[in-house]
Assembly symmetry: C2
Homo-oligomer: 428 residues x 2
């Protein structure tokens, strides 16, 4: 019988408890599939006394994740603490330095320190895997790093934050305001401790940056992601979009262009009947396009105990089977420092603004667009509600840069109340 | 610099030529991602003089695939000849016996000889990979074997024959008869040399049997797949199904039950608005359900040069990276011999038949159903067209066994013209 693979698990929230359950309940299956037993030597968490629905008495307890990471009886350090820095990073570094492989679900840590950690793993002959960090249970890191490795990746696109998708879906289906849907998500425990991580698009941006690094062999460049949260999306936008056959989704896109790497995470209009448009609730979807394979679409649960634990176990079992991969699919030292390109791929845009009732107001807005080289595809003006009349404009294809010029010019006209909402329309 | 991984490629049809092109055009990318050059030592095919759109002059030529498989300068034998036996099998066996890893796209060979070949690979310390054999470019073998390895798989379901889906889509969208759509597919070169492999559901059945072996740790049991082709599906069925909000798809399902392994590949009605219902043309879709992960859906091109070559390259690059997996995800000797279970999971069924115009005819059909314990959900009788009046029945949930009893009883009534069409309705 082959030696067991011994885990040290730090962080015993939902996902950590889920991993412990799988290892306890499926011991025979895991051994059959990997050829060796997978055992837990020790665990660490903040609160030793909390009931996690699973017995921990067989495992040594460490209060300190760093101490856990260094234990002699730990082969693989499973980091489920979370947070970009602090104990998660300290313990991951300690584990790698001690020559232990690491499996993590921590997108924030990798988005901020992915290059340094990948290099540290490499220097110590260790692997650092993170399937659970992106799109929950969907094995998308594996698909991109391994299954589609023979492709030049032309684009990666996805809805990767279930909480935002839940909020947008509830606004659409139940007619809730953004604040109402946000509160509902909060009560259901869907929001991160800092909700801005979710609704600000940051969490999804972390995931996108990791996918981009693998797809293009570049150093993770989270700071270069153009980020826009869903806080600006109103029920009016959702309804207008629906009227025109669209839904609003927090959509991430990355692609390599002649000017550098485009990465953006922003609410967009997508056709209501498209697979992305039909994606309701907490489900995630990632679409990978390769020059050989065409488009591969993967859909599944983006979060939750079972799906995330499934992804963690996939990585652990790879290690048990002896699979050794570079963190981002190629040696860390070969990852290119990336030039961030402002999003320049033209697209139609949806604009919604309040127009102050003055003679020639609409003409001024149309002029601002025209002078920026933007032509109008559709326009609607509604009855004045408060002080301003709602105006809805769908442009023909234009660049974000041109649009920003037009938006500045519009604000200067003095006829636009507040900031117009501008959302890209994606023909996915 | 690490030693190159040297391939011998047998079979230079579309896919083989596609693999050669990728290796020639993406040499730097492949080396960057795997850490070593991937080269071709020799190729083999039937016709040396055929123009394949790619230069082969750098490679040694073998007329005989077995000779190619044994060459000292070949590390990985890439089998793209096809056919369950003959030279494909002989060369694969020769390669494994000679200690060479094998990558193949050959579903027929593995469906019939998977267990023996997996054992041979294991006995010789070789790997035998076959991502390209199932669902073209979709990395579904990898997802099931590796990414979702921590799950007990509860069900695998999929549309995995692009040709059948093309024919059914054309019947639906263009109102073609089965024969017209078949001829169109034939002219476009979509059909196998023996078309029954496609339209008889055999090719898709091969794929399902391979997925089942991985999912349940069982020996490949293609003979135990309940197979039904699409030849019986008429334009009338397509239209009736559409009227009721369904589409007809050649759908494969496998699941482990208390009575054994259920594997079936048959035309089914699926909701028109479901992801499977919206799957048009040559696209494939596989849905994997695991106890932890829930449902994972993967969609992509099921055939063609680029997608299939992409899958072959995924396997080749895994080997270049040093990944060593058992053929079906666990040692061949541990794969269980499977008891085949007749499909017993109850479902509603769609029935279409011609009713001979005699007093009490409909009552006799209804009685036959009732006596088999099957209750009717919906029924329509249409104007007599030729000698018989078309009757359409949708049953409540029933088993195939009960339905077969009813069908025998119906035929005995003497009021049913010809064989009724019976299609399962899946609420995917």
């Amino acid at each position: 019988m082959t030696e067991p693979l011994r885990l040290g698990i730090a962080g015993l929230g939902t996902v950590g408890a889920g991993v412990v359950k799988i290892i306890r309940q499926k011991a025979a299956l895991l051994t059959e599939r990997t050829g060796r037993p997978i055992t837990i030597s020790a665990v660490a968490a903040r609160n030793r006394d909390k009931d996690r629905g699973v017995s921990l008495s067989d495992y040594a307890w460490e209060d300190d994740a760093v101490a856990l990471a260094k234990r002699d009886d730990v082969d693989v350090f499973v980091e489920l603490i979370g947070g970009s820095d602090g104990p998660a990073k300290a313990a991951t570094e300690a584990a790698l330095t001690a020559g232990k492989d690491v499996v993590t679900a921590n997108k924030a840590m990798l988005a901020h320190h992915g290059q340094a950690l990948a290099q540290l793993a490499e220097d110590n002959g260790c692997v650092l895997r993170f399937e659970a960090a992106v799109a929950g249970g969907i094995p998308v890191i594996k698909a991109l790093t391994e299954g589609l490795a023979g492709n030049d990746i032309t684009q990666v696109m996805g809805v990767m934050n279930g909480t935002c998708n839940y909020i947008l879906t509830r606004m659409e289906n139940a007619g809730l305001s953004y604040d109402q849907a946000f509160d509902e998500a909060d009560k259901l425990g869907y929001l991160e401790a800092d909700p801005e991580l979710d609704v600000g698009g940051i969490d999804a941006g972390h995931k996108l940056a990791l996918l981009a690094a693998i797809a293009y062999g570049t150093q993770v460049a989270f700071d270069a992601v153009e980020l826009e949260g869903i806080g600006k999306v109103s029920i009016a936008d959702i309804r207008q979009a629906a009227d025109m056959g669209y839904k609003i989704k927090l959509l991430g896109v990355c692609r390599m262009t002649g000017r550098g790497l485009e990465q953006r995470m922003a609410p967009c209009l997508v056709p209501a009947t498209s697979p992305l448009g039909q994606l309701d609730g907490g489900t995630n979807m990632v679409m990978i396009e390769g020059d050989q394979v065409g488009q591969i679409v993967m859909r599944g649960a983006g979060a939750g105990e079972g799906p995330t634990a499934s992804a963690v176990m996939g990585d652990v079992m790879d290690i048990a089977r002896g699979t050794r991969l570079s963190t981002f699919g190629q040696p860390a030292s070969s990852l290119k420092l990336v030039t961030a390109a402002q999003v320049a791929t033209p697209a139609p845009y949806y604009l919604r603004m309040g127009l102050i009732d003055k003679p020639g107001a609409l003409a001024k807005v149309a002029t601002a667009l025209g002078e920026a080289g933007i032509s109008i595809n559709r326009m609607r003006q509604y009855d004045q509600t408060n002080d301003a009349a709602p105006v809805l404009i769908v442009t023909h294809k234009t660049t974000r840069a041109a649009l920003d010029i037009a938006l500045v010019a519009m604000n200067a006209t003095g006829v636009v109340a507040g900031d117009p909402v501008a959302l890209r329309i994606e023909s996915v």
